[in-house]
């Protein structure tokens, strides 16, 4: 004859932990949560590693005409899209014969930067980030990374964008 499995008393179901053990249970649960958070951080690091391995080399940047020489005045700017449509860049004529171009997307929170003729640098209006017009490096504000720079080449009377540096991707 088979005996039916004995059911635990109701009080045992309602209060599954003895009062003395409660302190252990709450600490164990917190430590479990912290350990799982630690695992999440580890997974995040692994994700960065795997993403870096999978991405490989970036495709060859396109060569596109940006502006004609003398098209914009000294201190003037022209906006263009490079290397793909929708990726806004800014060309600045800093001298009679000097041109520089950078991505217009701030490296902090992706607001559009503009050229300030007063301070002669690129300014992000969202959080007052300032970037050097010489090399795109951060002068002040919350951004920590320089602006990606567009490499320009002069062919006859035309300026061409031929690549980018400081993009965070291998060129």
């Amino acid at each position: 004859m088979q005996s039916e499995p004995t059911r635990p008393p109701l009080w045992r179901e309602e209060f599954s932990v003895f009062k003395n053990d409660e302190r252990y249970v709450s600490r164990r649960q917190l430590i479990k949560f912290l350990t799982l958070t630690s695992m999440a951080m580890f997974v995040g690091n692994i994700w960065i590693l795997v993403r870096g391995k999978l991405q490989g080399k970036a495709p060859e940047p396109p060569v596109i005409p940006v502006a004609k020489l003398g098209e914009i005045p000294v201190g003037g700017v022209k906006l263009f899209q490079y290397p793909r449509a929708g990726e806004q860049c800014i060309l600045v004529r800093t001298g009679e014969d000097a041109y520089v171009a950078y991505s217009q997307k701030c490296t902090h929170l992706s607001c559009s930067v503009f050229y300030s003729q007063d301070s002669r640098d690129l300014v992000c209006p969202c959080h007052e980030g300032h970037f050097s017009i010489r090399d795109g490096s951060v002068l002040q504000g919350p951004p920590t990374r320089p602006l990606p720079a567009v490499t320009l080449e002069r062919r006859n009377d035309q300026l061409f964008a031929i690549g980018m540096t400081n993009t965070g991707a291998e060129q």
């Binding site: 430590i31 951080m41 590693l49 991707a169």
Partner: protein, 83 residues
Amino acid sequence: MRSSQSSKQSRGLTAIDGAMALIVILLMVQIWLLSATLDAYLSGHREVALPGALVSGLLFAVCGALYLFVNRIEASAKNDDAR
């Protein structure tokens, strides 16, 4: 007998609190490590991803070991209570 059990339990709780404090410190280091690795990666320094992942894995292993240590202390305290 009762007071010896209570002192043992109190020592166990102190050890668990110590382990918990250590895990919190390790976790803060890990959070900083993840943000620093991500920042460096986005700046184009991909070579930091591997050491970052290794150190993070090591910290996670230490956290896991501390969790097992806490479980063992709890089990031993329960055994003492049952006696």
